[in-house]
Amino acid sequence: MEQLSQQVNDLLQSRRYDPEILTDLERYVEAQCKEGAYDGDANLACLKLYQFYPEKTNVSVVVKILLKALAALPSSDFVSCLYLLGEKTQREVPVVTVITWADFLETGNFVDFWNSLQTNKDIIQGLVGIEDSFREFMLAVISRTYYRIHLSVLQKLLCMSQDDLICFLRRHGMTDITNDILRFPSTEENQPRPKTIGEQLPLRKVLESLSYYS
């Protein structure tokens, strides 16, 4: 994998817009899916070549890139991918489905996301560990929103049985459970603490203003 990643990086340095490197880029996407790795920049370069040479578009690779980008939330990788897709690709059935998934995830609608995923399981086939990647994103959002949460609510949000959930939480260092209520490790956001917005006046701004008058 490391070797492949290095090789692709070299190719992007020297021949970023050469359609002949597509086979390598596509192979790299497949490898990322199998090994649970991720290289957003290389994948964008692949989509860009599809944009330049639409006849070479491989929809199944596009779907994989989109899924990997979606699992990389909260980064903006997924929209970055969408901006590069042509109208025709955006209308392909699996692409349409993945775009609805993005809508669900981005609007906190995790329950509907899992429902749709269960009925379209074939789309994520071959993407090792992708469901857990989605869960990690969700857990990060949930832990910024909740200080304490009932396990039954969390189970629904993450679509897991109670036993699996407890294992998953333990893996992420969250073990403070009493009476089926989980307490998240405290962060700046889930603590009762008044926020103060101070004045932000960088020196640069003062200098800019003063230099104008001098």
Binding site: Q51, V141, T145, E188
Partner: protein
């Protein structure tokens, strides 16, 4: 890199060999032009000859005046509705100076693009001339020359502009003749996006501008062309062309919708440097900040967009007065308004404020629209976005067998994706307005007030937290860099079934207050000084 240049050159040779026959079909117009200019006014003849003389002497300040002022004056006087003398005719007055003619041709076609409707033949000739010009430059042609930075910027910028118009032209098939379509089909290399990018990259590499920038604006090699480690960044013409090509790449990537790469090419630029090369040409300064902040907006970096647009608009407000009579004034004015619109959109999604003077510009221009966006009116977002966005292009050739107009497709797709994001965010202001009414309330109750189910309300809260967790850079960082921070207009957390909202205290802003009054005092003093001058 040399390989790249060879490639492109051979493609334009191919055109010369195989497509000249085709070209004859379109060349009537240029012939007629030549006839029309058979009688070139004597003052124009003298101007051309003088222009060429100063160009050869390397008298930059004189060339600057001739380029910026005289050329436009003559255009206004003699060539308002026609083109400048055909390069073949003009050759007579400049001693057949091939180098000067390369530059003259660029001006000639640029003038046609700005005043007249270029024909297919002229678009193709303009492309060929760019290939010749860039190949000449890349093959050390202008090592001995010196040209004003504004001219070099205009060449780079116009090159991309003509590419942009070509993409739109090619995708508008409805009113094209069969001959024209056949020609387009056979000549994929003309204004090809790949060649365009290769020329810009080749210019960046040739100029050695990146090492120059990373070395604190100092060349890393020798300034003697005979030395083995001769460094092209020691020659101003190459240094500027390389630098401007970086900003050109930013623009091209934005037009293609590749915003991440657009920001990544800016990596070597130093934004803290008051004498950075982009400050030398106003049009370049504006282009850089317009496309950079547009990329921020598209990558959901609203906080960065607000920060950078705020200070840029302040700066433009100050320099604008120096340009009131320049031909660039219109352009500056339009871009400023577009940037204000970008700022209006970003502000709705951000939790920052901008400087009071920028704020008053905003209120005057888009006050009502900002209000409506805050209330969640999606159509206003779309309207402002379409007004403020660049002219996106589809880089690939259309389906020539289905003659329909597809030139708006790229814009449509970018707008659609942007509006998807807007739609996702609509819950944020609504949740905020409800939350700020309470300090502690049961989740189920609040859901009821918002007329939704508890489950739905939980997802609104998650959406709020997700959308206010943003990627943000800082002034010292490269544009592509940054980290995630929480930027929520209201802080809250859920404790099992109860939502607890935290107070936010605002500290008084003494610094800003003093700055404002220092400014007012200065303006007042200036006014008094002028009054006393006048009365003397």
């Amino acid at each position: 890199m040399n390989g790249l240049v060879e490639d492109t050159r051979s493609s334009s040779w191919r055109r010369n060999n195989s497509t000249d026959l085709n070209m004859n079909t379109f060349s009537d117009l240029s012939d007629r032009d030549a006839d029309a200019h058979f009688n070139v006014p004597e003052s124009v003849q003298q101007f051309l000859s003088y222009f060429r003389q100063k160009f050869r002497e390397g008298n930059v300040s004189e060339v600057h005046t001739l380029y910026e002022t005289s050329f436009n004056r003559y255009s206004e006087r003699y060539f308002k509705t026609t083109s400048w003398p055909n390069p073949e005719v003009a050759a007579k007055y400049v001693d057949n100076d091939e180098v000067f003619l390369l530059f003259y041709k660029e001006l000639y076609y640029r003038h046609i693009y700005s005043r007249l409707q270029p024909t297919l033949a002229q678009r193709v000739e303009a492309w060929d001339n760019y290939c010749d010009l860039f190949n000449f430059i890349l093959n050390d042609g202008i090592v001995e020359f010196d040209l004003p930075p504004s001219w070099l910027w205009d060449i780079t910028d116009e090159f991309i502009y003509q590419f942009e118009t070509w993409c739109h032209y090619r995708n508008r098939l409805k009113n094209k003749t069969e001959e024209e379509i056949a020609y387009l089909k056979d000549n994929e290399h003309i204004w090809n996006v790949n060649f365009l990018l290769q020329y810009l990259h080749a210019m960046v590499n040739k100029s050695n501008i990146c090492p120059w920038l990373l070395n604190g604006n100092e060349p890393v090699g020798s300034s003697d062309p005979d030395d083995d480690d001769f460094d092209y960044s020691t020659i101003p013409v190459y240094r500027f062309l390389g630098y401007f090509s970086i900003i050109g790449l930013l623009r091209v990537h934005c037009l293609l919708g590749d915003y991440k790469l657009a920001l990544m090419v800016l990596q070597p630029l130093d934004f803290d440097d008051n004498t950075a090369l982009f400050t030398r040409v106003t049009a370049c300064y504006i282009s850089l900040y317009y496309y950079m902040t547009f990329a921020f907006l598209m990558l959901r970096r609203y906080e960065d967009a607000v920060r950078v647009l705020g200070s840029t608009l302040l700066h433009i407000g100050r320099i604008k007065q120096h340009h009131t009579r320049s031909y660039q004034y219109e352009q500056i004015h339009k871009r400023t308004d577009q940037m204000l619109a970008l700022l209006a959109i970003s502000l709705v999604f951000s939790c920052q404020n901008v400087d009071e003077s920028v704020n008053s510009m905003l209120r005057e221009k888009f006050g009502d629209k900002i209000l409506r966006m805050r209330q969640g009116e999606e159509s206003v977002f779309e309207e402002l976005f379409i007004y403020a966005c660049p002219k996106f292009v589809s880089p690939c050739s259309p389906d020539y067998d289905r003659p329909i107009d597809r030139h708006m497709e790229a814009s449509y797709l970018q707008t659609k994706t942007f509006m998807r994001e807007v739609g996702q965010r609509l819950a944020v202001p609504e949740v905020k307005s409800f939350l700020s009414l309470y300090t502690s309330i049961e989740l189920a109750k609040l859901a009821q007030f918002m007329e939704t189910t508890e489950e739905m309300f939980r997802s609104f809260l998650l959406c709020f937290k997700h959308k206010t967790f943003v990627f943000r850079g800082s002034p010292g960082q490269a544009p592509a860099e940054g980290s995630f921070v929480s930027c929520a207009p209201v802080s809250f957390y859920v404790d099992n079934d109860v939502v607890r909202v935290m107070d936010t205290k605002m500290e008084s802003k003494f610094g800003e207050y003093f700055l404002q009054h220092i400014g007012k005092l200065q303006d007042f003093i200036q006014m008094l000084e002028q009054k006393t001058k006048l009365s003397h």
